[in-house]
Structures are given as C-alpha cells and as structure tokens.
C-alpha cells in the first residue's frame, strides 16, 4: 500500500509537473491563462494514435512527430487567434476556452467518443521494493524528469531562457532593453505546448484516449499552478508532487476515494490559498493595481 502510494504519486506528480510547468511559463511571460493547454495534451495523444495506426511509424519517431506537429499547431493558434486579441485579457481567456472546445469537438467528429487504446512503448514490469511497476510508468517518470531538466537548462543556461525570464519578470523593461517580446512570447508558447505534448504522448499508453481527456487534467493543473504560485516554476513542480501524492493517498485510503480525489486536491489548494493568497512560491504582483 505505502509503496503503491509512493510510486503512483510520483508518476502522476511527474505528469502534472510537465503540464503545470508549461501552463505556468506562458502565464508568467504573456499573462495568458491558457485553458486550451491540456487540449494540446489531448491532441498529442490523438496524433500519436493516428501515426501509429495509419502510418506504421515506430513509437519513438511517432512520438517526436506528434510533439512537433502539436507545437506547430499551437504556434498557428497563437498567431491567428490569441495574438490579435492580446490587448483584451478577457477575450484571450475565452479565445482559449473556445479553442479547447473546438479541438474537443473536432476529435469527437474525427475519432468518435469511444476510448482508444495505444500499445505500450515498453512491455514488461520491474519489481522494486516489492511493488511491481510496469516499464511504461518508469518511462513516464524518466521522460518527465528529462523534460524538466531540459526546461531548466533552456531557462537558465541559454540567451533565450534569459530573455524569457526577463520578460516574465518585467515585460516593459524587457521590451525597452531591446528584447523582441513578441518572439519571446511565441517561443514560450512553443516550449509550453511542447511540454504538454510530451506529457500527452507519454501517458497515452497508460490512460485511455478520448476527446474529454483534457478536462480532468485541466482542473488538476489549475489547482497545481495556483497552489505553487502562478508563474513560479519551482512552485509548479512542488505543487504537482503535492497534488499527485494527495490524490494517490485519497484513492488508496478513503472508501469513495476515486470520486473524492479531485475534491480533496482542490480543498488542499483552497487551504493553501487561505494561508498564502499568492500560492506557495508565487510573487504578489504589485502591478495588478
């Protein structure tokens, strides 16, 4: 039981961290609450399914192609639907809601509402501390860890990362210092959606793929991001692990756990917000006045 909780919490936490990091990044840089974020995660899973079923590509190649395709799509969406209304925050918000709904309905039209299965990339199990873990779950963990490390590298060791952090810190000053804020926002959108797509591709074999699979992670990711502090990457990582473990504990220990896991995770978020209104690691934005 304890080992189950430890492993499940870690794997789910890793997936949530992938999603929440991207969400937090684009919020920090461009102040966009991207409701369609987890819709891109759903699209990546569908893309992988299509490539595997109809083209006979290998798993690795198909995964890479899916991530690339979804990232390119997100840039198009950003350019044509979000950027024209950037001046109006509320319009951006419902533009992303509408995008999410459009993707959901398109997938529903193209693939139907039933569950689709994707074969595991790696078969077999490993026994660790008396718990049998399928290789696929370990793979998710490895991919999540590697992606997070890559994001850390990009943000802290490259000029682009410096520009992204500077823009997140103060958009106007970054603009005055000669950074192309628009390109930085596009690059951030690409990184953010690429992370979501990686998450979608890696969990697709474990979870089922259906057009509504984006709604549950969306709520969890919002909880993670608010818990950790909007725009804070460290906060997103810690928040993701907290929510992942809280869900695992609820599912394994409470009688009606599967129904209550969302409620308990969200209650934790509310409690944290009551104590710290800007989340665990968030900064209180002075410019909100």
């Amino acid at each position: 039981m304890l080992q189950d909780i430890l492993i499940t919490g870690l794997v789910n936490g890793g997936v949530y961290a992938l999603l929440a990091m991207g969400f937090s990044l684009i919020f920090g840089v461009a102040r966009i609450v991207n409701v369609a974020h987890s819709a891109f995660y759903m699209l990546a899973a569908y893309c992988l399914y299509t490539l595997l079923t109809y083209t006979g590509m290998g798993m690795g190649l198909a995964s890479l192609a899916s991530v690339a395709a979804v990232t390119a799509l997100s840039l198009l969406c950003y350019r044509f639907f979000i950027e024209p209304v950037r001046q109006h925050e509320s319009a951006v918000l419902i533009a992303t809601i509408a995008l999410g709904l459009i993707f959901q309905e398109l997938m529903l039209r193209l693939f139907g509402g039933h569950y689709l299965g994707i074969p595991n990339a790696l078969e077999g199990v490993v026994t660790l501390l008396g718990v049998t873990i399928p290789y696929q779950r370990l793979l998710i963990l490895v991919i999540a860890g590697a992606s997070l490390a890559a994001v850390w590298f990009v943000l802290h060791r490259t000029r682009l990362g410096l520009a992204i952090r500077a823009t997140a810190n103060d958009l106007e000053v970054a603009n005055l210092m000669g950074m192309d804020v628009r390109t930085v926002a596009m690059a951030t959108m690409a990184i953010s959606v690429a992370l979501a797509a990686v998450a979608g591709v890696s969990v697709a074999p474990v979870f089922v793929v259906d057009p509504f699979m984006w709604l549950a992670p969306l709520v969890t990711v919002l909880a993670v991001v608010v818990l950790g502090g909007l725009g804070s990457l460290k906060g997103s990582l810690i928040g993701a692990l907290v929510i992942g473990y809280v869900e695992a504990i609820t599912v394994f220990l409470l009688p009606q756990g599967a129904f209550l896991k969302g409620a308990v995770a969200l209650s934790i978020m509310v409690v944290v917000l009551l104590a710290r209104p800007e989340g665990l690691y968030g900064v209180a934005f002075e410019e909100e006045r």
């Binding site: 529903l108 709604l215 969302g262 409620a263 969200l266 978020m269 009551l274």
Partner: protein, 378 residues
C-alpha cells in the same frame, strides 16, 4: 374617470416617446420584452416555448455572473456552484420534504446566497487570476461530495421526478419569462445604482476605493451574495422546469458558459450577457435541430465565439452600441447616432469640420525668429 384615464394614457405615450423611443437601444429592449411576453399568444409551439424558457433561465444566470465579474471584478470561474446549489437545494427539498416549488425556489436562493458569501469570504484576499482559478474549485469539490453520497444525491444521474411550477406549459413559460425580466431589471438597477458605482471603483482600483473610505470586503461579499442569489433562483427555476437536477448543473462546462456568454456579450453591462444568451442559446439549439449539424453544435458555437471576438474584442453589445448611439461630448448622455445634436443638451454631437476661416490665421504669439522659440522641441 374617462378623462383621467386618457390623461394617463397620453402621459404614458409622451413618456414612451420622449424617454424610450428616442434611443434605439431602449426601443429594442422594450420590443424584446414585449415580444417575450407576446410569444405564446403568437405561436404555441412546445419546442419553441421550451427553448425560450431555457434561454430566459440562462439569461438570468449570465447576467448574475456579469454583476460579480464585470462590475465587482471578481471574475468567477465557478459560477455553476450557485446555479447548482439552487437547483439541487430546491430539487432535494421538494422531493425529500415535499415542500411547495415556490418555497423551494426561495430556499434554493437562500442556500446559493450562503454559498456565495462563503466563497466570497474564502476568496476575499485573492485577486485576479488566483481568484478565478480558486473559484473554479468550489463546484468541483461540491460535485465530488455529491458523487461520494449517491444514495441522497442520485450520483451521476442526479435527481428527477420533480413537480413543475404549473400544470400548463404556457403558465410555466410565463412564470420563467416574468421572473427573468424582473431579475434582469433588478440586477441592472443594482448595477446602475450607487452600489454598482462602488463595485466599479473596487474593480478599477481596490486600494484607492479603500482609501476613499469604502468597506471593500463588505461590498465584495454583498456582490457575491446578490449574484449568487440570482444564479440560485435561475438554478431552482431550471430544476423545476427540467423536473430534476443533475451533475450538469455543477460542471466546469456550465461555469465556462457563464464566462463565454458574459464576455461575448460584453462585460459590465448586464444587458450584454442577456443579449449573448438570447443570440447564442437559440442559435445553437436551432443548429442542433438539423441532423447534419447535430453533432457539430458545440463546434459551431465555439467557432462563432472565436470569430466574433476577433472582430469585436470588447464583446457584441458594446460594438453594436457604439454603432447606434453616440455619447454627448458635454453631458455624456447617450443619443442616437444619426442625430446631429445631443437630445439632452443640444450640443453638436459629431465633430463638424470647421468652415475655412475667412480671416488669415492670427499671428503666432511667439516670434519664430527668437532663440527661445527655435529652442523649443518640435
């Protein structure tokens, strides 16, 4: 007697002509209200009445979101909590305790207001996106609790078998339409009063509002309570109209619907979300009635919203209002756009290009040759 009647009739006509018919927006609002009330006399189509009744219910719901989000600036992503609280409370009390639907609606509104105050109290210190995302949690927490106790709440199927308000279809429609007109008027009056002005101030700059001696927490809680009360009445009406309440009344989708309607119609107007519901809801239902489009209903809805926003980022009604009405430059009162002068103070509305002056332009005050003038910035 007949004399005084004709006097009142004439006075009403004069008022109507001088206060309502002079402004296209007021004329449209009057025609719309009259059209709603006359609809069952003109066409007694059960399907049409049903759609219009649902539209009225959602119009109240969207307008109540606007009071909270547009005026008070508390952009709630969990407005479905109040709708669902009203729906489930009135449904469960009528089923379990057998009380009358009317009392059930009052109870539903009370419970929704209490939920509003509770949510508002928890969110008092939150602002901006934090508040939006935190409010998203409350209906989902409630939904999780309802699912965990399926024997009372009916679980995923919800509760059903409620009595409707009236036996006849037309009476039900009238009850809902009149309730909608009354509630929307009340919300509009509240938003237009001093209270609404204070909410405007809180949204624009909470610190400045507090510095001006406004008890902002109390006003925010009041906004939550009023808005939740209206949404709760809408939820209770929905439960009695649908003769049941299900998890769909608490879903994220319904919360997002409020946001979409509100922003699509134009925030901080009250009438904007109502217009949005009256445009979008019948439109999607009508499209859904075609078998070819049935499955595409939500897709078309989303595409319409997206495209309209690209052209009218401030929403539908502000865009239309700016086309048909012009504010007076002096007294700020609105006038029809085709008038040349303000209907209140008579000042010229549109900037008329001045006729070329006969006399030569007066000489400049400073001599262009002096060093001081040449040192001035261009």
């Amino acid at each position: 007697m007949a004399n005084s009647l004709s006097f009142f009739a004439r006075r009403a006509w004069v008022n109507l002509r001088s206060d309502v018919l002079v402004l296209p927006s007021r004329t449209v609002a009057l025609a719309w209200a009259a059209g709603l009330l006359l609809l069952p006399l003109l066409r007694d189509d059960p399907y049409l009445l049903r759609i219009m009744a649902m539209t009225c219910i959602f119009a109240v719901y969207a307008a109540s979101w606007d009071l909270l989000a547009g005026y008070a600036g508390q952009v709630s992503f969990g407005h479905a909590l109040f709708f669902g609280a009203g729906a489930y409370t009135s449904a469960l009390t009528s089923l379990e305790l057998g009380i009358s639907p009317w009392f059930g609606i009052v109870l539903g509104a009370t419970v929704a207001s209490a939920a509003g105050v509770a949510v508002g109290y928890l969110c008092l210190r939150l602002r901006g996106s934090y508040l939006s995302l935190a409010t998203l949690a409350f209906p989902l927490i409630t939904l999780g609790i309802l699912f965990a106790f399926p024997e009372r709440s009916g679980g995923e199927l919800g509760v059903s078998g409620l009595r409707s308000l009236f036996a006849s279809r037309t009476a039900n429609y009238y009850a809902i339409a009149v309730a909608m007109l009354a509630l929307v008027y009340a919300l509009w009056a509240i938003a237009d009063s001093r209270f609404g002005l204070v909410l405007h101030a809180i949204r624009d700059d909470e610190v400045a509002a507090r510095a001006s001696g406004i008890n902002t927490p109390r006003y925010k809680l009041a906004a939550f309570a009023i808005s939740a009360c209206a949404a709760g009445i809408a939820g209770a009406l929905y439960a009695h109209f649908m003769r049941g309440a299900g998890p769909s009344t608490l879903e994220v989708g319904l919360s997002f619907q409020a946001v979409i309607w509100g922003i699509f119609g134009g925030v901080a107007t009250i009438y904007g979300p109502v217009v949005a519901v009256f445009v979008l809801y019948p439109l999607t239902e009508w499209l859904g009635s075609f078998t070819a489009f049935g499955e595409l209903r939500l897709l078309i809805f989303a595409v319409i919203v997206l495209v309209v926003l690209l052209f009218m980022p401030r929403g539908l009604t502000p865009w239309i209002r700016d086309r048909i009405e012009t504010p007076c430059p002096r007294c700020k009162g609105p006038s029809a756009a085709w008038r040349a002068t303000c209907r209140i103070c008579g000042v010229a509305l549109h900037h008329v290009p001045r006729a070329p002056a006969a006399a030569p332009a007066p000489p400049a005050l400073t001599d262009p040759g002096t060093p001081r003038a040449s040192s001035r910035l261009p």
